[in-house]
């Protein structure tokens, strides 16, 4: 079906309430709020867009509007469909899509938290990254933080003359805080966490003798060795059985998007490193693609190859680390992860050699790369991908996969069905381990991935074991891509035109996405024609994969929750952003 066919069909189906978005540089459709539910249902059931990947919002104070932006896909592949709903800024209400696409759950909560869009019909619309009681919705354009200096960087004070006073000196409290007018801290009553605990449905069971049992609420984290950082789980238990579970996040909310909207486009590049800090090069890749779409710039061959090599090496080391940490979680304390980290260090050596940093690579530029491969690095990569990594992957497989304890803890546990995986917008290994062969490198190829022979790793049981094993599969596929790429890489330029540090970007919006190691990593950008993004949103796979976490854990024992979490493989920098 071609694009115009689709438009006609859509028009026939919805003669009213669905209009094409004709603003300069924008795409997709604008839906009337009262038609949204009907539209989304038809989209899912009649037009086969069964996967709602991203939900976010944009604030347009000049027009007095808030806009919710949705990106939907078909799991059989193809490009995205963007649709938007506009609402009044004073009283922003949009119907929630949670019944049609349950994967919208956390994302709608995020949009409520940061932008103040009320999603009517959402059963649990609480703040998700900040805490209840926080003043204001920070991503609104007129909301200013305590250390606010100016709307756009570079700040006048720093350039061309560096007259910088420390932000603390300007704040009346000497710290990064501000309070609403007439705020009296002594009269203030903390909101507490009743809302959180209220959201965990309370149970009461009666046994056969009529003895009633209340259910117990427990918290795990934010400081807990198996939560992979500052992540918190609140759960109600019946004995040792999980009745209900809610992830609590935001303990590492570092305001990426607010800071990103103040930065220039290039200044955001190092910030993307710190999203999923295990795989900075994939993050660079996604962001570069989104900006390149906006400015319409080509990338030279050699640079594309280097990008792919770096992205796949990133995937390998990320999965190694993920497997190591997962084994930690299920009790094989540190021995497997020491093996995994040993290999990871070798990949990090390559990163350090090429980009100058082990973890925060900041290597991609719009239309190319920061620098070419240094002498000897290609040989190093060759040694790794033809010899060491395949051998060590097999070795890990041999040591771990048939281990009886590992198998009995994981096989058949933490089940996520195919339908649920799609429904909850799970991405990456979590989605593919549930039997959906959806990999953006294949489904909607970007860069030069259409040139390589590789299989999309897929497994069908949807349990913890498959989510563990699929990572080994993916390492092997990545090595295949790497082997082809290092053989084919041509000589040549690594940057189209001169490197550009500051540029004007044409008006419009773009969504760049890559298959990151953790799943679909998307960057949604809106440009108002200046040198700073007007809206900068990250579709974070770690965050959205957690939507399925609660349902997956229902009925399991407490100790299995940790294994399920390990098998999702989250990184908090990306979850909380």
């Amino acid at each position: 079906m071609t694009e115009s066919d689709f438009a006609t069909r859509l028009n026939d189906r919805f003669p009213e309430g669905v209009t094409a978005d004709e603003r300069e540089g924008y795409q997709g459709y604008i839906i009337a709020a009262d038609k949204l539910i009907e539209f989304a249902t038809a989209l899912r059931d009649e037009f086969e867009f069964d996967y709602l990947s991203s939900v976010t919002g944009v604030d347009y104070p000049d027009e007095g509007k808030l806009e919710a932006v949705y990106h939907a896909y078909k799991t059989i592949g193809g490009a995205e469909l963007v649709f938007k709903v506009q609402t009044d800024r004073e009283n922003p209400e949009i119907p929630s899509l949670i019944d049609i696409y349950p994967g919208a759950d956390f994302q709608e909560r995020e949009a409520w938290d940061l932008l103040g869009i009320k999603f009517t019909g959402h059963p649990d619309l609480r703040r998700i990254l900040l805490w209840e009681g926080f003043e204001g919705h920070p991503l609104r354009k007129d909301w200013q933080e305590a250390y606010y200096e100016a709307d756009k960087k570079p700040f006048k004070s720093r350039w061309p003359k560096a007259e910088y006073t420390r932000a603390e000196a300007k704040n009346p409290y000497g710290a990064n805080v501000k309070y609403p007018d007439k705020f009296d801290p002594e009269k203030w009553v903390p909101e507490g966490e009743d809302a959180l605990y209220g959201s965990l449905a309370k149970y009461e069971t009666t046994d056969k003798d009529g003895l009633k049992t209340d259910h117990l609420t427990v918290n795990l984290g934010p400081q807990h060795p198996s939560t992979h950082g500052v992540f918190r789980i609140a759960a109600t238990l019946d004995g040792e059985k999980i009745m209900n579970l809610n992830p609590v996040m935001g303990y590492l909310h570092r305001n990426h998007e607010k800071i990103g909207e103040r930065n220039t486009y290039l200044q955001n590049m190092p910030f993307t490193d710190r999203l999923d800090y295990l795989s900075s090069l994939s993050n660079n890749f996604g962001y570069a693609i989104a900006v390149e779409k906006l400015i319409g710039i080509e990338v030279p061959e050699r640079a594309e190859y280097i990008r792919v090599i770096m992205a796949e090496l990133t995937r390998v080391q990320n999965h190694l680390f993920a497997i190591g940490m997962f084994l930690n979680d299920i009790g094989a304390f540190f021995t497997p992860s020491l093996y995994a980290i040993e290999e990871r260090e070798l990949v990090l050596d390559v990163f350090e050699m090429v980009t100058g940093s082990r973890m925060m690579c900041n290597y991609l530029r719009f239309g190319g790369l920061a620098r070419d491969l240094p002498d000897g690095s290609l040989q190093k990569i060759r040694d790794l991908v033809f010899d060491r990594l395949p051998r060590k992957t097999d070795e890990m497989d041999r040591f771990l996969s048939e281990n009886e304890i590992l198998r009995s803890r994981t096989v058949g546990q933490g089940y996520l069905s195919t339908e649920d995986a799609i429904k909850y917008s799970a991405a990456g290994p979590v989605l593919r381990a549930s039997g959906v062969p959806y990999d953006i490198r294949r489904a909607d190829p970007y860069s030069i991935y259409d040139r390589f022979k590789f299989d999309v790793a897929v497994r069908y049981n949807g349990d913890i074991y498959d989510r563990y094993y699929i990572r080994l599969d993916e390492i092997r596929e990545s090595i295949k891509i790497l082997q082809q790429a290092v053989e084919q890489i041509p000589e040549g330029e690594i940057q189209t035109g001169k490197p550009r540090y500051q540029m004007k970007v044409p008006k419009g919006e773009s969504y760049g996405r890559v298959e990151g190691p953790k799943g679909e990593l998307g960057f949604y950008l809106v440009s108002d024609g200046t040198g700073n993004p007007y809206r900068y949103h990250v579709r974070a796979p770690s965050f959205i994969n957690l939507t399925a976490f609660g349902p997956m854990c229902k009925g399991l024992k407490v100790a299995d929750v940790v294994a399920v979490l390990g098998s999702i493989d989250i990184v908090l920098g990306e979850t909380d952003r």
């Binding site: 900040l130 200096e149 990064n176 590492l252 909310h253």
Partner: protein
């Protein structure tokens, strides 16, 4: 026992018993014991934590300094390695963890974020450095600090321990050491110490 590790110079030891006798001061042996078994709290905040893990792993291996025993419980930890961005939402927890650690306790601020807010300093949910909350002994620059830098910082901490005297350390002084007041999450983070100032500002407006 290594001679220079523990022996205080200035005492003549007869040659016959040199191999079996050491003469030292209480401070020296007390510090030698503590500096060689600093147990960190297993507690990672952000990206820097990954470098901390790498430092604990095979290649850099900080167990060479007696630090490999990471304790998930603050009750058993001597050192809080603040490895990452301190957010406002996390601030009360960090102070509470610090208060739960028994003396002697040390804090190392690892990386730009923990030292001063780092790249995210301007963020509305970011505390500009963990020293706004708890006292810090060693700051390690870097974003993230490399494992070498981390080890260097930890050696600095050991040197600091070496310089302490059992007569003056705070945990052997009379009286209780006061716990640090836990900040609250209000419309923004509320430090207990700034409550009077907030009240004053509110009154001025009124």
């Amino acid at each position: 026992m290594e001679k220079e590790g523990i022996n205080s110079p200035g005492y003549e030891i007869p040659e016959e018993i040199e191999g079996v006798v050491s003469i030292t001061s209480i401070d020296r042996i007390y510090n030698w014991g503590r500096r060689s078994s600093v147990w960190p709290l297993m507690f990672g905040l952000a990206c820097c934590a990954i470098e901390m893990i790498a430092t604990a792993a095979g290649r850099y291996d900080f167990s060479r300094f007696g630090m490999e025993v990471m304790r998930p419980s603050p009750r058993q930890a001597d050192l809080m390695l603040v490895s990452g961005t301190v957010t406002k939402k996390m601030a009360p927890t960090i102070v509470r963890l610090y208060n739960q650690m028994p003396e002697p306790k040390y804090v190392v601020a690892m990386g730009a974020c923990a030292s001063g807010g780092g790249p995210f300093k301007e963020g509305y949910n970011v505390v500009s450095g963990v020293d706004k909350l708890i006292p810090v002994d060693v700051y390690i620059p870097g974003c993230p600090p490399t494992p070498q830098a981390l080890i260097n910082g930890l050696i600095k901490l050991q040197e600091k321990i070496d310089g302490q005297s059992i007569k003056t350390v705070r945990w052997y002084q009379k009286g209780d050491t006061a716990a640090i007041p836990v900040p609250m999450l209000g419309p923004d983070l509320i430090y207990q110490s700034s409550i009077p100032a907030i009240k004053e500002a509110a009154q001025e407006e009124a």
